[in-house]
Symmetry: C2
Subunit: 602 residues, 2 copies
């Protein structure tokens, strides 16, 4: 607590010296990544709040932290004893960041932030407020630089090439597809700052961001030149090996120092620049000369990488099989040992990780595992800690949401397990969520449908009963990239930007993960990954269907068969038949007998 | 044929005299109405094509007619023998109107049209093409004026006031709500040219447009002034009676000559003008001074009139009951007499109309009845003609899609009747369409859902089997206004304009009318009107449901009970129970016994 006060005090001194009245610290890196490395945890450093999302705003008079519903309880706890006021975003009477700025900044005052960690769209919004009050913006100061003494270094870890047997398409061909798209959009230059887009485009991977195997980098692309800003100016370790340099050369990509990106952007002389204002940072926008015409469109790579090619599809079937073996062995162990040996949320997670590690191709978790027992399961984003985690015993449900990165692609799977005898209500809820998941994944639909058209297939069985889950039904999944990837998703709320409501294309991978969360009691989520495929084409159009990538048993101990309709039973039985066929060659003896029973027809 | 050639010849002479190389004739009136009166049937006059949608484009060298899939067969027939080439819109290789113009207009040429019948958005699109070719536009010439000798007059029929017991809200209050919305949008002036919006706003009705009880008029609204452009300059009959003039005065609406609208618009001196570019015509846009800032938004009245108030809701329940009595009596007559007395599509329509006319409150059909037997039913927009219509006899299906205007609101209902013994496949299709209709109308959903979220509830049972219908599942319905009214609808295809994908609000009326059309054999459509209502509100949000406005039996002779799921049966039985309860007080004797059987539990 005292430490936080000291840090805020130093921050205010720096603000004064820099002529800044109000300093804003969001949670991001320079690339709008979902997770960030230690160097970027400035908001955590100054506030003590450890959640993955939040914005700290500090003035001479007060300090406030904005965060969303996932973190209200945790933030309140972590901020207690400091002067920082919690702003519960979305709650009645709580201003938005923009509204708050309008309240606290004085006429003619100055707002400061590091423009590299503020999204261009957000910065533009703040500008509106400030214009009304004739305020100015200092957008090029990272005040943590001078205050945070033991700040972790900006990580530049080794980079490797993703061979064509994994990527399915040469980088040169991908670049040429992007250039075609630039022509279509009438753009002379394309600036790409999102790390997964760059990694996909160049078929390279790194490990500079937590849970997402990418390398810190920027790109500037024209019809004749491809510049990659990634080289370390003071390398301690050789990241860009001779082999990598040769590889870039072959693909006609020129390597430039990471730090030289902004000065290079500032020197683009004329033309139309394609970029996605929702993804690039505010500083880039300020550095670009004003005479340039900005073409604000989704990055062409966004849709391209979402549509997996046949090599990627074939690989994904492999990685999902390996992942299924690990999760199914974990399930076997859990069901056999619960109530007999001590198991905690953390030890269960560790056991699951050890099962994944048995597979040679496994690299690392694709996100931080959620392992939540009983009432903890009702917190959709629960994170178990060694010292406070729950003991797992018979009588309730355990939700395990986890995934892995493989060269053959990334996985994301949730299963809920019924341990011992569980109350009737839990089984009822489990069965409803199962029906929701089964209904969506068995939907046949005409080409042209988007996630907003299909989401209700999962929710209908809950909505009928006045129930719901307050999260999307599913998200796109990257290939050895971010486990949350657009533009495909299953959501019922329309995105205001038409282009973000993507049509479901063959090759897109989307999760199907409805849930139900009963505060203080239990939570359920069941998640399969679905691969979108073309089905029959006839006079009505091209029909589409989903292929299951995930092949792990659904815990039948959670199912109240009397609540299943005939077609639910058919769907469940046919899924379990497929699971048994795929997994049984890898099981034997007692384990095989268990698998047979776990996937039995009901 | 010869007549059409003569007319085209005269048109080309006029074009030459006016310096026009290419003349475009769409199908519209000055107000973007769905149906138009005789005066506006210029495209029909010059082409001979009688369909409700099409655009004729004439150059010195050729004449082409663009129309959509509903009219390919009819247009081909009606154009045969003329020089006019049919352009099948949406077919592969067929250019859009814009693309066609780009092909035929020569560098520096001139395009001509009457800007009052061309939508502003369309005109803007044509401008793009013409700019590329340095062409000019003549947008103020209606060449039919000098050629069409016996052209029907522009109709200005009597206008009446819709009392508050029908409208539920005073015009002055509605105007004040629109003014509030103008303030929110920062607009000084609002221009309204769509007739249903004006009729709703002022609580007046007329009969200047076919099937839609509105009066030709324009409005210009500011915070201090409301100008209605509707007065006839040379009245043969007094349309604006003393009573009406008094009524307008009370609501502080000033009446101006219909013809003075454009010159008035040209004199708006400054400010921000709220208008909907998708609804106003091109001429208005050209007449407005260039210094005005146009705020392009949906007309505020569009959403307001879609949300029916409690008076309107209560009235609608009445008009739907009366309408149901007529349709149910028609059904009784049809089922009893088919195969026994001669019945044709036209005589059936006439009998149905006579049943509606028995109700004192009935005014007129809300659209041209579709009465299609057997293979005719496969044409979704079939229109029976006295001399060519089919005889109705046992052995096939009859689709009847009709509706009425009442002071208590407008209705729209479709029933398909199975006459005598019909083939198993027809019953199978009938049952699938019934299941589609029942599933959608029984959907419970969270507030915030739009038509795009719910459409699949109707289609899922068809899509599962590789079937579909090529039209929307449902449209909004006006209150004694247009039977097709936005912004609510059930469609799966997203509208590019975010605001057109309206959230379903309590009080909105939308049809639920899935179908199935088997070319050369039969068609099925079953349609109820649904009133959106608020249900339970809980921790998950505000749940919504649909109340049935339509209460007419579903023909059980068409149902294959073995294809119904348990919940379909429950839904059908509960609907029929409600129908019997509502209608039975008005039936007796043999008719009552028939009704009891027609709504029996299955």
């Amino acid at each position: 607590m005292k430490m936080i006060q000291e840090r805020l005090c130093k921050l205010r001194t720096s603000m004064k010296a820099a002529g800044i009245d109000c300093y804003l610290i969001p949670t991001s890196d320079y690339h709008d990544s979902e997770y960030v490395s230690g160097f970027f945890m400035v908001r955590k450093y100054f506030s003590g709040f450890t959640g993955s999302a939040g914005t700290l705003v500090v003035t001479g008079e007060e300090a406030v932290l904005f965060t969303d519903g996932r973190y209200f309880i945790q933030a309140a706890k972590e901020l207690s004893g400091t002067e920082i006021k919690l702003m519960k975003m979305g709650e009645p009477g709580v201003p938005s960041i923009k509204q708050y700025l309008a309240q606290v900044i004085k006429e003619g005052g100055t707002l400061g932030f590091d423009g590299r960690v503020v999204k261009a769209d957000d910065g533009k919004e703040y500008e509106e407020v400030l214009a009304q009050k004739k305020c100015s913006v200092v957008w090029n100061r990272d005040l943590a630089e001078e205050i945070w003494e033991d700040r972790p270094a900006l990580v530049h870890n080794p980079v490797f090439i993703l061979e064509e047997s994994y990527s399915g398409e040469k980088a040169s061909r991908k670049i040429s597809r992007v250039r075609d798209k630039m022509k279509q959009e009438g753009a002379d230059v394309h600036i790409l700052t999102s790390l997964d887009d760059i990694a996909w485009l160049l078929n390279i991977r790194g490990s500079d961001v937590e849970s997402c195997p990418v390398a810190l980098s920027y790109m500037i692309l024209t019809q004749n030149q491809a510049l990659l800003f990634a080289e370390e100016t003071h390398p301690e370790e050789e990241i860009w090996t001779e082999e990598l340099r040769q590889y870039l050369k072959e693909n006609q990509v020129e390597l430039r120092p990471y730090d030289s990106f902004y000065s290079h952007a500032a020197q683009i002389r004329e033309g139309r620049v394609l970029l996605c204002k929702g993804r690039v940072n505010y500083r880039l926008l300020k550095e670009l000369p004003e005479n340039l015409v900005l073409v604000d469109r989704p990055n062409p790579t966004s849709l391209m990488k979402a549509v997996k090619n046949s090599t990627e599809m074939e690989n994904l079937r492999k990685s999902h099989l390996w992942d299924a073996l690990a999760v199914t062995r974990f399930m076997y162990w859990l069901k056999k040992n619960v109530g007999k040996i001590p198991i905690t949320e953390v030890s269960a997670m560790e056991y699951l990780e050890s099962m994944r590690q048995k597979c040679e191709a496994y690299r690392e978790p694709s996100f931080a595992t959620i392992c939540a027992y009983g009432a903890n399961g009702a917190l959709a984003h629960y994170s178990a800690k060694e010292d406070t985690c729950a003991e797992i015993k018979p009588g309730s449900l355990l939700v395990v949401d986890s995934g892995g990165h493989y060269l053959e692609g990334s996985t994301d799977i949730t299963r809920t397990f019924a341990l011992g005898e569980v109350p009737r209500e839990m089984k009822e809820h489990f069965t409803l969520v199962l029906r929701a998941m089964l209904t969506l994944k068995n939907t046949r639909f005409l080409y042209g449908c988007r996630g907003v058209n299909l989401d209700i297939r999962a929710r209908e069985v809950l909505w009928e009963r006045g129930l719901d889950y307050k999260h999307g039904t599913g998200h796109g999944v990257g290939y050895l990239l971010s486990v949350h990837e657009g533009p495909n998703s299953f959501r019922w709320k329309l995105q205001p930007d038409y282009q973000e409501n993507a049509v479901l294309e063959e090759g897109m991978v989307t999760t199907d993960e409805p849930g139900l969360y009963i505060e203080g009691s239990h939570g359920i989520r069941i998640e399969n990954e679905l691969l979108c495929r073309k089905g029959e084409a006839n006079e009505y159009g091209q029909f589409m269907y989903f292929e299951d990538l995930t092949c792990v048993p659904i815990d039948l101990d959670g199912v109240d068969v009397s609540l299943l309709e005939e077609k639910d039973k058919e769907r469940l039985n046919s899924y379990h038949k497929e699971v048994f066929e795929k997994l049984s060659p890898y099981f034997e003896g007692e384990e095989l007998a268990w698998l047979k029973n776990a996937t039995r027809e009901i």
